[in-house]
């Protein structure tokens, strides 16, 4: 899986691409873990290039959400294509996260608060 990472104005943006399934969620989890271990506390996950997500991918996001809460970090999800948004909806995950339409609106959220 291709995972792009950028730091924009102090916010780490992680953008996985392709399928977020049983095979690829391991590498994503590892990339996220390393980034948070290295000190990232303001994190955006951009789903714009994700084809679909299965429960293996949801698990990675759930683990991240709990960790960011424990660390008093901030996590925003953005760019969800319809297949991703629908799986989040079915799993009841939408209320558990801050979700923004685009990367720009996600980043604006940090700018407004910091």
């Amino acid at each position: 899986m291709n995972i792009q990472q950028n730091v924009l104005d102090g916010v780490t943006v992680i953008a996985p691409a392709g399928r977020l399934d049983t095979t690829t969620s391991g590498p994503l989890e590892e990339a996220i873990r390393k980034t948070v271990d290295a000190g990232a506390r303001d994190v955006v996950i951009d789903f714009a290039d994700v084809d679909y997500i299965s429960s293996a991918g949801l698990r990675v996001l759930l683990v991240l959400a709990k960790r960011m809460r424990d660390l008093k970090g901030r996590l925003v999800l953005c760019g969800m294509p319809e297949p991703v948004r629908q799986v989040f909806h079915l799993a009841g995950f939408l209320p558990l996260f801050s979700v923004e339409r685009s990367r720009d609106t996600a980043l604006a959220r940090f700018a407004a608060h910091s």
């Binding site: 095979t23 299965s54 429960s55 293996a56 698990r59 909806h89």
Partner: protein, 148 residues
């Protein structure tokens, strides 16, 4: 033996990607519309992921078979494995209204399969046989859309 395009896999981690690739090939040759492909991809990932994790946990599932077929206005996928009897449909549905603190990973996979497919059936023969069906007619929007 079920009809359709057949593929057999060793129940190891590589099988998950191989099964996904087999589904891609089938959907491409059958010109399955895009909005029906991803629910099938998610469902197959859940089902095959379960089989492989059971095999990895030492409950012998040496191999499994998958059949892909078009049945009228639907796509059907049959997955058969040699593991001990296990009906995933009997698993209690997870509570998807719990707050973050109370959420545990797991249990969501089969719920997604049920939600995204139009029909899911389990049958125990000498094997575990799971059949999922997805309509590809214009009315066959992914299940759950109406609950939005």
């Amino acid at each position: 033996m079920p009809a359709g395009k057949h593929a057999r896999f060793e129940a190891d981690a590589a099988a998950i990607g191989q099964a996904a690739a087999a589904l891609d090939g089938f959907c491409s040759s059958e010109q399955v519309p895009r909005d029906a492909i991803w629910p099938l991809q998610v469902a197959l990932d859940e089902i095959v992921g379960n089989i492989v994790s059971h095999a990895a946990a030492g409950r012998a599932v040496p191999a499994f078979d998958v059949w892909f077929r078009r049945a009228g206005e639907s796509i059907e996928i049959v997955v058969a494995d040699d593991g001990p009897p296990f009906d995933p449909l009997e698993r209690p549905a997870p509570d998807v209204t719990l707050p973050l603190d109370a959420r545990q990973p797991g249990g969501l996979g089969i719920m997604l399969v049920k939600s995204l497919m139009d029909d899911v059936r389990y049958e125990r023969t000498t094997r575990n046989v799971l059949t999922i069906r997805k309509r590809i007619t214009p009315g066959g929007v992914p299940g759950g859309a109406e609950t939005r």
